[in-house]
Amino acid sequence: MKVTFPHMGNAWIVIQTLLECLNVDYVTPPPNSKETLNIGTQLAPESACLPLKLNLGNFVQGAALGADTALITGGVGPCRFGYYGELEKQILQEAGYDFDVITLEPPDGSILGLLQRIRKLAGPKNNWRKITQALLFAYRKSVALDRIENTFHGYRPLVPDSNRVDQLYDEARMNLLQAMSEQGITEVLNWLSDKIQEEKVCSYGENYRDKKNTLRVGVVGEIYTVLEPYVSMEIEKELGNLGVLVDRSIYLSGWVGQHVFRGLAQGYKPIKPYYSLAKPYLNHFVGGHAMETVGAAVKYAQEGYDGLVQLLPLGCMPEIVAASILPKVQEDYGIPIMTLTVDEHTGKAGVLTRVEAFVDLLERSRIYKDHKEGVLELAGR
């Protein structure tokens, strides 16, 4: 058995750690690229959403490196993602790839069923104690990883050199990937905060921007689209480079804790509070992350954020429900919300134009609010 898995942002670092702790043979597919998408688009039905297409591309690219088993998480509820594990198995088999698929999900909400699947993945060599330790360690790493990502969302808009930020971010992720103990994780986090402090003072000095003046934008939406930079057109990075402080509503550890482990772990940025915040607008589960999206939008609005961006893949039913509710939130709180739909035909240029225009909109309306000037006095900024 040689396991491969789909990419979703930084999730590969966590999955790789888990599989290494369990001594499972694995290959990490190359990162999402045009080629991944081309493979997936050929295999998947045209109307399937973007995550399915990229997953398939990842598996085929993994197979080229010798993988024969695919690991994927599942879901419960009306989102199509819930049956992607089965669907992908069939598509791959019809295309001539003899793949076994292990779907990590609590089938019909049963934790016991989830445990059986974990047992299948871990094989007979590992006892439950070891499995639990591996899961806990991977989970802690996941929380640390999310924390690093969030740190960069706050750091990027404040410094003038975006390429240096990219380098530092890569360095931090690689260091975390190699950390194989609790202490190692703590060391990476400490190293990063020292490094940032050092660069703040030594490299940037007066060029370091004041946090008070930055715009704050919350990013909400379907988790795969939000987490995977190839799909989101690196929108968080682009916003950051435009000097916007980005805050993301969902992170991997929060989602895994709530959806795979049924709330046993809360993760970084727990998503539980969103459900009660969403209540006045959407009071029952419609699948996917619609409730999280609406709840998070309300949270950001209450916290006085300048604007919100909602991301969804074309044809994502739960997010379409959320998208039709968000204008109500926009009206109630007076917070501008931009919805971006992505699929394999989306061009980065179009997304960037919208993002730029959105940032202009926020900047101008904020200054207008502060000084009661018209748009013309603000031109050229």
Binding site: N163, A357, D360, A379
Partner: protein, 336 residues
Amino acid sequence: MLVDKYFLGVDVGSVSTNFVLIDEEGHLVDSLYLRTQGRPMQTIQEGMKNLRQKIGGKAEIIGVGTTGSARQLAATLLGADVVKNEITAHAVAASRIDPSVQTILEIGGQDSKIILLRNGVVVDFAMNTVCAAGTGSFLDQQAARLGIPIDEFGKLALQGTHPVRIAGRCSVFAESDMIHKQQLGHSLPDILAGLCQAMVRNYLNNVGKNKEILGPIFFQGGVAANPGIRRAFENELNQKVIVPEHFSVMGALGAAYLAQEKYQQQGLSTKFRGMKISESNFQARSFDCQGCSNQCEVVEIRQEEQTLTRWGDRCGKWSVISSYTQEKEITEASGK
């Protein structure tokens, strides 16, 4: 010697490339509307050549703004002081002409957008996403297929008394529906009027969905030249739709205003690379970087063997050469 000082605004879109010159007080002095025809670099050069002949040697450009889908390219070629997206540029131009404007309907060559302003500030906007039905390119194509010049399209549409119903959801289906209606024997003006209605319905259902359209309404972009579309908008919205005087070059006008504002606020000297760029030889080439698994498509713009800029790389390995000092060196070397 007394020289006239101007600000230049350039909007390089998919179908047209527009140039606007405004004087220091912000009055439009000259404008130029050229077809891009898929060759943005040559079109920019051609435009500069035209402008040079018109304003001659006694003029000085003291600020340049670019916008449109090729705004980066134009900024590189010209040396722009302000590079802004089309939405902001259109909004600035419209609210400068009439500060009370609350809605802008803009239909260009390949995209259409709606911009909502309140108190002179953009509060919401939308652009068409995946579909080109109802944009200028589609009208061009249909006019060509029917063998009528695009300028006649709107006039003919106004003569239609019983507009036929055409499926405007998709440009391919709209075309086959139009052929069907022709073969049933409907008159050309009725079909064209029907097409205008279908386009407007499609626009309002897609781009204008959930948007509060309040007057004064400005209709701008190349398609605003078509009185048939304008009438269809007025019928559908039950409101007056104003087509501003310089509707076809509003993006460029906005870019020029932005350059002017920047000049007035910061008073910096322009990065403009001179009128002579029209005589230079520009070349673009692209390659896939093999440095890592991202395999970025890098584009390189060269002027007479000198690399002006590169973009498309994620890591900055290739784009770092485009620092201002280097650009200046290159300009000097090429004999400004």
